[in-house]
C-alpha cells in the first residue's frame, strides 16, 4: 500500500491506501489485537470477581523479568525497524546485521520467559493451578509462540531479503512488540 493519499485514491483504495506497508499485514495486526485484547479484558473481568486470589497469584510473578523483557523486545523492534530502513536504501548487509540483532534479542526474550516458566514449575504452579495462572500461561504462552514465529520469519527474510519481505517481517515483529506492551502491565502490574 502506498503512504501517498493521492496515489492511493487513484488506486481506488480510499483511506485503506493510506496504511503504510502491506494491507494483509494490517488485517493480521488488527486481528491479533482483537484476540489478545479480548483475552486481557476477559482476564480483568474474571479478576474483578476474585481480586484477592488474583493479587496473591500475581505476587508470585517476576515483575523484574517482565520489565527486562519489555526493554529486550522494544530494542529488538528497533533492530527490525533499522533493518527495514537499511534495506530501503539497498544496504543489504547492514539490514541482515540488524535482522540478526532482532532475532538474537527475540531469543533472549524466550530465555527469560522460559526461566519464568521454570521457576513457576519449581513451585508446583501449572496452567490448572488457578484462574489467574490459566490466563497467565495461555496469554503469555500464545504471545511467546508469536515470538518463536517472528524469529523464524526474520530468519527467513535474512535469507530472502527482498525490500517487501523485510518490511512485512518487521511489521509482524512490531505487532508482537505492541501486544507485549499492552499485555505486560495488565498481567504483571495491575495489583
Amino acid at each position: 500500500m502506498s503512504g501517498d493519499p493521492d496515489s492511493a485514491a487513484d488506486d481506488g483504495w480510499g483511506v485503506l491506501g493510506e496504511l503504510p506497508g502491506d494491507l494483509m499485514m494490517w488485517v493480521l495486526i488488527v486481528s491479533e489485537l482483537l484476540v489478545f485484547g479480548g483475552a486481557l479484558l476477559a482476564f480483568l473481568a474474571v479478576r474483578a470477581g476474585d481480586t484477592a486470589a488474583f493479587a496473591a497469584d500475581q505476587a508470585l510473578l517476576d515483575q523484574t523479568a517482565g520489565a527486562v523483557n519489555t526493554i529486550v523486545l522494544v530494542t529488538s523492534g528497533y533492530c527490525a525497524a533499522m533493518a527495514s530502513a537499511a534495506r530501503n536504501v539497498d544496504r543489504r548487509d547492514t539490514a541482515r546485521f540488524w535482522l540478526y540483532g532482532a532475532m538474537a534479542l527475540g531469543c533472549v526474550f524466550l530465555i527469560v520467559k522460559s526461566a519464568e516458566y521454570w521457576s513457576k514449575a519449581q513451585l508446583g504452579i501449572g496452567i490448572e493451578t488457578s484462574p489467574f495462572f490459566t490466563f497467565y500461561y495461555l496469554v503469555t504462552g500464545f504471545h511467546a509462540l508469536h515470538v518463536v514465529a517472528g524469529i523464524a520469519i526474520l530468519g527467513a527474510v535474512a535469507r530472502f531479503d527482498g525490500e517487501r519481505n523485510i518490511e512485512i517481517a518487521a511489521s509482524f515483529w512490531h505487532m508482537v512488540d505492541l501486544i507485549w506492551v499492552l499485555l505486560f502491565p495488565i498481567i504483571y502490574l495491575l495489583g
Binding site: 493510506e18 526493554i71 522494544v74 528497533y78 536504501v89 512488540d177 502491565p185 495488565i186
Partner: protein, 89 residues
C-alpha cells in the same frame, strides 16, 4: 535513511518502560494503587502509540493514527474500568 526518528522512538520506549517499572516499585495504599494503575495503563498506551506511529509508520496517515488512538484508548479505558470494578467488588 530515516533512522533518527527510529532512534528517538527507541529512547522514548526505553524511558516509558523504565517509568512504568519505577511506578510499581513502591508498595502503596489502595488510593495510590488506583493512581498507579491509571498511570501504568496510560504509559502502556503511550508505548503502543510510539510503536504504531514510528515503528509501524502510521505517522504518515492522520486518519489511521487517530483511529488506532481511539481503539487503543477505548481498550485501556475499558481495562481500567474493569480494574476499578475489582476494587469495589
Amino acid at each position: 535513511m530515516p533512522t533518527r526518528g527510529l532512534s528517538q522512538a527507541w529512547v522514548t520506549l526505553a524511558i516509558l518502560s523504565t517509568a512504568t517499572t519505577l511506578l510499581t516499585v513502591q508498595p502503596a495504599g489502595i488510593e495510590a494503587r488506583t493512581f498507579t494503575a491509571a498511570a501504568v495503563l496510560l504509559l502502556a498506551g503511550l508505548k503502543a502509540r510510539v510503536i504504531l506511529s514510528r515503528y509501524l509508520g502510521l505517522h504518515t496517515s492522520r486518519f489511521w493514527m487517530r483511529t488506532f488512538d481511539l481503539v487503543i484508548g477505548g481498550f485501556l479505558i475499558l481495562a481500567f474500568g474493569l480494574y476499578l470494578a475489582g476494587r469495589t467488588a
